[in-house]
């Protein structure tokens, strides 16, 4: 995402993202700690396991809200391009790595890494898009 501080939509995004990411760290630490010391069972185990992924889903909402609130159509256009690049890269890597895992047993990539992988590719795409519109 652009690091400018004049755009109100981006300021709001940065604030919300910070809140959500903090919640993610807190929930993750909580889940790891509880699973280590008092491992729950049954429904409680599932609920606690899902807990850290909720702020991640929240991150999607934050990103969606940003796209809806960004008034500058050109910037929104470049962000959309970056997101498409993000999903393209993610799908390519998961497909290739998934088949390698299945047939030649390369080290397993955890499923929840798909979302961070997506953001990595969004960052790369953002860089490429900025080059294009220099």
């Amino acid at each position: 995402m652009i690091c400018s501080t004049n755009n109100p939509a981006i300021k709001r995004y940065n604030y919300r993202a910070a809140v959500v990411m903090t919640l993610y760290v807190v929930f993750l630490l909580l889940a790891v700690w509880v699973f280590k010391l008092h491992p729950p069972t049954g429904v409680a185990a599932y609920a606690l396991a899902v807990l850290p992924s909720l702020p991640i889903v929240g991150m999607l909402v934050v990103a969606g809200l940003y796209l809806a609130e960004e008034k500058d159509e050109f910037i929104r256009n470049t962000q959309v391009q970056a997101m498409l690049g993000g999903i393209g890269g993610t799908l390519a890597v998961t497909s290739v790595w998934g088949f390698l895992e299945n047939f030649v047993h390369v080290p397993h990539m955890d499923l929840y890494l798909v979302f961070p992988l997506f953001w990595v590719f969004v960052g790369v795409s953002m860089f490429v898009v900025k080059l294009r519109y220099r």
Binding site: L84, I87, L91, S95, W97, F99, F103, M109, Y112
Partner: protein, 134 residues
């Protein structure tokens, strides 16, 4: 979008994507049979394992070509919107499932399924958007 007049770009997309899907099925068969019947190692194993991923990469290029070739700007923005909406649920599902797998030891999901899952969500999005733009 009940247009009987599908654009030439769309017709080209349909031909190309059907071809790639057939190539995908074929390469999956080749790879599965190859690994079942031959004791493959080293580079040969890796190359054969990647084979089914190649049509998937080509399929993404085919989609990209369609977006670039589609002259109708509304239709193009319709597909862009659907593709963006597909990202959210895909990321949410992989994150929650991955969390459950890691912490609550739910059964894992094959990584290469991320791509078909995304396609399903994009398809659902087009159904919703078609009603929105009725």
């Amino acid at each position: 979008m009940k247009s009987g007049r599908k654009s030439s770009a769309f017709r080209r997309y349909k031909t190309r994507s059907v071809t790639t899907m057939l190539l995908y099925v074929l390469s999956l068969a080749i790879t599965s049979i190859g690994f079942d019947h031959f004791r493959l190692t080293g580079l040969a194993a890796y190359l054969l394992a990647i084979l089914p991923a190649l049509p998937i990469l080509v399929a993404m290029v085919v989609v990209g070509l369609y977006l670039a070739e589609e002259k109708d700007e509304f239709v193009r923005s319709f597909w862009l919107e659907a593709m963006l909406w597909g990202i959210g649920p895909t990321m949410a599902l992989t994150t929650v499932w991955g969390s459950l797998t890691k912490f609550a030891h739910l059964w894992g999901m094959d990584l290469f399924l991320v791509y078909p899952i995304y396609c399903v969500f994009v398809f659902i999005a087009t159904a919703v958007l078609k009603r929105k733009y009725r």
